[in-house]
Amino acid sequence: MFLLAITVSFIIQKIILAAIIIGGSLGIALYATWAERKVSAVMQDRRGPTRAGPFGLLQPLADGVKMFMKEEIIPMFSNKFLFVLGPSLAMVVALMSSAVIPWGPDMKFADGTSFSLQVADINIGMLYVFGVVSLGVYGVMLGAWASNNKFSLLSGLRAAAQAISYELALGLSMISLVMMTGSLSLNDIVSQQHGFWDGNWFSWNVFKQPLAFLIFLVCSFAELNRAPFDLAECESELIGGYHTEYSSLKLGFYLFAEYISMFITSVIISTLFFGGYNFPGMDALANMVPAPLFSIICILVLLAKAIGFILFFMFIRWTIPRFRYDQLMNLGWKSLIPLALINMLITGAVILYFNK
């Protein structure tokens, strides 16, 4: 059955697809670092990177070379295996969720073959995403503990408490979405949001579950350790937080994993709430252009939505000051979780009323 379906061509297809997705994610994350510098520069009335290449476009490469060239230091009394494992785990976990995202509709060729643009269509896709999110904190915690540094340890504890607190609200906001769609498969969730207007109401989930979207967005900030919730790397209190002791490419991995997570999270938010690869007038376009081209347009639409969210993440970072730790906990436990529960109740009541 599910294992018997595996043939050599199937495996090769999936490997190629996974390689393209990972390469693409790395490339976008690379330029997200450049975009972050440019966005911060614009918001603070500066010019940002301008020297390396036109508009500083080669800056990410220059940064990469710089990271490679730095001396690699492993603290003497640290746990060396875990010290190396920390940044590696952060990187792996950041890339893992991309496996279940439907990047576009099946690519149908003229000779009748079709090529799925999703690495794995598992029927618990949303739970898989949630599972990967819940593993995200290990990279930070292990690296922090293995550094054998007080500030790193404090940062690791902060990260763990923060991640666990915000996972709850994140999961609860996902539950109301699942109650509405009736499926945990990301493929089903996207195809239910087909087009933009389903005759009675907007088909995108953000118009049906605005509160769930808001909670999901706030929790994503916390899970990503992004400002205003970057308590784990709060430099005014903890030096550099969990990556205080890291240097060279291992530091680069930590910093880079954050941008990859940001990209993947943006794609997931677009998929769950903003219709994924669907866009207004897609049926009309599907009749006009050949099928493979249409699939590519759909992928580009999804990427455009994701880049919009990446920019939003950046605007927030350079606008809102960092929370205090008690404020963070109060927001999570006393505001977001009750709100998500109320949203769940309302969703259930509405579904019961209309399905009667």
Partner: protein, 176 residues
Amino acid sequence: MDIYQIIFWILSIFTLGCAIGVIMSRNPINSVLFLILTFFSISAHYVMMNAQFLAIVNIIVYAGAIMVLFLFVLMLMNLNSDTEPQKNFLIQFAGVISGGALLLVFVAAIKSTFTGLEGKTIDLSQSTNIGLIQNLGTMLFKEYVFPFEIASVLFLSAMVGAVVLGKKDKELAPTE
């Protein structure tokens, strides 16, 4: 030996190796990490049986939440070989006795479970959908709804207990 058996044996050896690593490692942090690996390989066994929901919930709940808390506590205690508590002979003796008794109970439980299971095994090479979320949900909310709800009351009482414990600490704190 077909591919399922090969995967099964590799996974089983890996699982048992990690489980032995949990009790053999001197460093508690390594123990926890081995335990996380054990949970992952048990989840892989669930996937082999096409019980995807069980597999992912095992990872979310155990690897994603409970083990993070374990690590949290261990990191706060900062255990290492210097601060390892010295156990006297009596405590070690009691540990051996109670551990042996627990093993006996487990072996007896497994033995009684295995009798009468002959017709209920899952053939991994055959299609089985019993573990998919739709079937699981239907079973839970139709046939087993009463024990399911009772279990939720149990969790609620655990939560209330945790809140009570947390509150007590606050009242005992010196008033400044």
